[in-house]
């Protein structure tokens, strides 16, 4: 088990390294082209170009630049650990920018995750137990809508209805929980719901399918044959089998969101990582792009490891090798 984790952590490291390398290369090889001209103002003189080049380190070979980038992550830079350098655009340390935003994204993701797991799983169970009845059809209709409705459209529609039309909720933006709890929740409830919608719909379909499949298994018949109540047959034997695979999917979905819920943050004007990603790509702000990429890939790879370890406890057939 210990060896397994060490080996997997090594993989995490490698994957993150490869991803940053790819991002790094894409940035320099693909358009929008030479970053030096981009940051040298409207009428750059050769002196200015040269100064910019030197300041950002563009005069050094790519592998030196990349090496410095990797070294800074591990050993920190003048702004602390992990070192992500400073933004080309704002000239402020990327590290602070990222850490300021992770919290917002985390709050968005956790709130939405709680909602979609509760709603999705319950709808899935109710649907499976009322298969082909009206409840099931309605729930699956909702699920189809939820899965296919684009987040930005639902988000804007929700804002229009709850904010503009009925003034039930305040508009967009973010109020920290520590500042005003009530305001925090009233600002977050819509983003949570909108983000949770498509996941809830997807999970409802998945849980329904898994549970129906599990209820057709022979061990369910065994459970009935030994005289267990229906409550136990479904609530224990059926659910255990149908919810275990959900853990994997949940881990991956959740970790993807931690890298930034781009659309939701954008629509609701939340200062999270997703908003930063969009901003930095639009501005060709390499240090920020790299930093967000590292963070996002780290979330996903580490979470995958965590899920695999948890799964080993949930499913005794899984062996760590």
């Amino acid at each position: 088990m210990g060896r397994y984790i060490v080996r997997r952590l090594l993989y995490v490291f490698l994957v993150v390294l490869v991803i940053t390398l790819a991002t790094f290369l894409i940035f320099f090889v693909m358009p929008p082209g030479d970053p030096v001209t981009a940051f040298s103002g409207r009428t750059p003189t050769p002196q200015i170009l040269h100064a910019v080049e030197k300041q950002f380190g563009f005069d050094k070979p790519l592998y030196v630049q990349y090496g410095k980038f990797v070294k800074n992550i591990f050993f920190g830079d003048e702004f602390g650990w992990p070192g992500f350098g400073y933004s080309y655009v704002t000239r402020s340390p990327v590290r602070e920018e990222i850490f300021g935003r992770i919290g917002v994204t985390l709050q968005l993701a956790v709130g939405a995750a709680i909602m979609w797991v509760i709603v999705g799983v319950s709808i899935g169970i109710v649907s499976a137990l009322n298969r082909r009845k009206l409840v099931d059809r309605a729930a699956m209709g909702f699920a189809l809508f939820g899965v296919s409705a684009p987040t930005f459209a639902v988000g804007l529609a929700a804002l229009y209805i709850f904010w503009q039309q009925f003034h039930l909720l305040p508009g967009t933006g973010y109020i920290p929980l520590s500042e005003n709890a009530g305001e925090f929740f009233s600002h977050m409830i819509l983003p949570w719901s909108v983000l949770a919608l498509s996941f809830a719909a997807f999970y409802a379909r998945m849980v329904r399918g898994n549970l129906l499949e599990a209820l057709g298994e022979d061990y369910i018949r065994t459970a009935r044959a030994k005289g267990l109540s229906e409550k136990k047959v479904i609530g224990k034997h059926g659910l255990r089998a149908s919810l275990t695979p959900i853990v994997t999917i949940f881990g991956l979905d959740f970790s993807l969101l931690l890298g930034g819920a781009v659309l939701t943050e954008r629509v609701f004007n939340l200062p999270g990582l997703g908003a930063l990603v969009v901003q930095s790509v639009a501005r060709s702000d390499l240090p920020v792009i790299l930093a967000t990429t590292v963070i996002a890939s780290l979330f996903v790879t580490v979470m995958t490891l965590v899920v695999d370890i948890i799964y080993g406890f949930l499913d005794p057939r899984v062996r760590y090798t």
Partner: protein, 340 residues
């Protein structure tokens, strides 16, 4: 006088499917007495499994139309409330299934699953349940039960899983054990052990056993009574000695001729030609007539009733008993000749 445990009267199970009505079981009657093993034999789709699953209401009743009676110690299982039935399942009437690989929950320990069966009926503390489980695991021949108690099903071999299933079925000393093809998924050597175990259990616990199989050899080994089923109906019922000494239905002959026998080397197996009928469009008259080498005038029109035509036990074939005896003797003779 033996005590009648289970009496099935004119059981019919019809499934409504988009393609039509599947008459999986179409009029089955039999009795099971204490201390007796009833072997139910037939090809896949002959309705033998559905008969047993219906007895415990383990089929999907929403899509099935069930009529007839399944009297268990005088109570009709088909009419009990769910809770009344639950109290009987696993306590007085237990069942083991064909595929022990799929019948145990893969995510729970074997011991815990048997504990659960113990605690499903009556008031058992965790410790008492475990004690009972260990007792049973030992009784069915699981080595080192204390260790095996904590294992998961995938750590058991096929034979061990079936043993565990039998242990689970026996925790409350049931009156009847229904075994639905308990050996089909197992190795031949293990098959014999499981059959022996079932036989031993029947003796030790003095229960009635319903053994479903497509293997007449299995029935010959352990059953006292045999029911041969074809297309949802019994075609021949009798004691083992009656049926094996003088089988009276061409389908039974076919089954007997397709058993390989070690002592008759070189003897050709004679398969039954054709395949079992679609249960949606069961042939008119005798359902077996399209595959029967001895069919004659009324076979494709009139369905023969199950009755004793003078041969000593009930069968459903239009031929007279004399003709049957002659035909069977001829078959036996030609088989023996082919062998020499």
């Amino acid at each position: 006088m033996a005590e009648t445990l289970l009496e099935v009267k004119d059981l019919k199970v019809h499934f409504n499917t988009p393609d039509g009505v599947v008459k999986a079981v179409d009029g089955v009657s039999f009795t099971l007495e204490r201390g007796e093993t009833l072997g139910i034999v037939g090809e896949s789709g002959s309705g033998k499994s559905v008969t047993c699953l219906t007895a415990l209401r383990l089929i999907n009743l929403e899509t099935a139309e069930v009529s007839g009676q399944v009297l268990f110690k005088g109570r009709d299982l088909l009419k009990l409330s769910n809770e009344e039935l639950r109290k009987i399942r696993g306590k007085e009437l237990s069942m083991i299934f064909q595929d022990p690989f799929a019948c145990l929950h893969p995510l729970y320990r074997v011991g815990a699953q048997i504990d659960e069966a113990v605690r499903a009926h009556g008031d058992f503390s965790k410790a008492d349940a475990k004690k009972r489980t260990l007792e049973l695991l030992k009784a069915v021949g699981i080595p080192r039960p204390e260790e095996r108690y904590r294992d998961y099903p995938h750590q058991y071999s096929g034979g061990m899983r079936q043993r565990a299933m039998i242990a689970m079925a026996l925790v409350h000393n049931p009156d009847v054990l229904i075994a639905d093809e308990p050996t089909t998924a197992l190795d031949v050597t293990v098959q014999a052990q499981i059959l022996e175990l079932i036989e031993k259990v029947k003796e030790d616990f003095n229960i009635g056993v319903m053994l479903i199989t497509h293997d007449l050899g299995v029935v010959a080994d352990v059953s006292q009574k045999v029911m041969v089923m074809y297309a949802g109906r019994p075609v021949e019922i009798g004691t083992r000695d009656e049926v094996f000494a003088q089988p009276l239905h061409p389908y039974t002959w076919g089954l007997l001729d397709s058993i390989p026998a070690v002592d008759q080397k070189g003897k050709r197996l004679i398969p039954i030609t054709g395949s079992p009928p679609s249960m949606i469009r069961v042939p008119q008259g005798c359902a077996f007539h399209p595959r029967c080498p001895h069919r004659f005038e009324p076979c494709d029109k009139e369905r023969p009733d199950l009755m004793d035509r003078g041969g000593g036990h009930p069968e459903a074939c239009h031929l007279t008993v004399e003709e049957k005896k002659k035909l069977w003797a001829q078959r036996e003779a030609s088989r023996t000749r082919a062998a020499s």
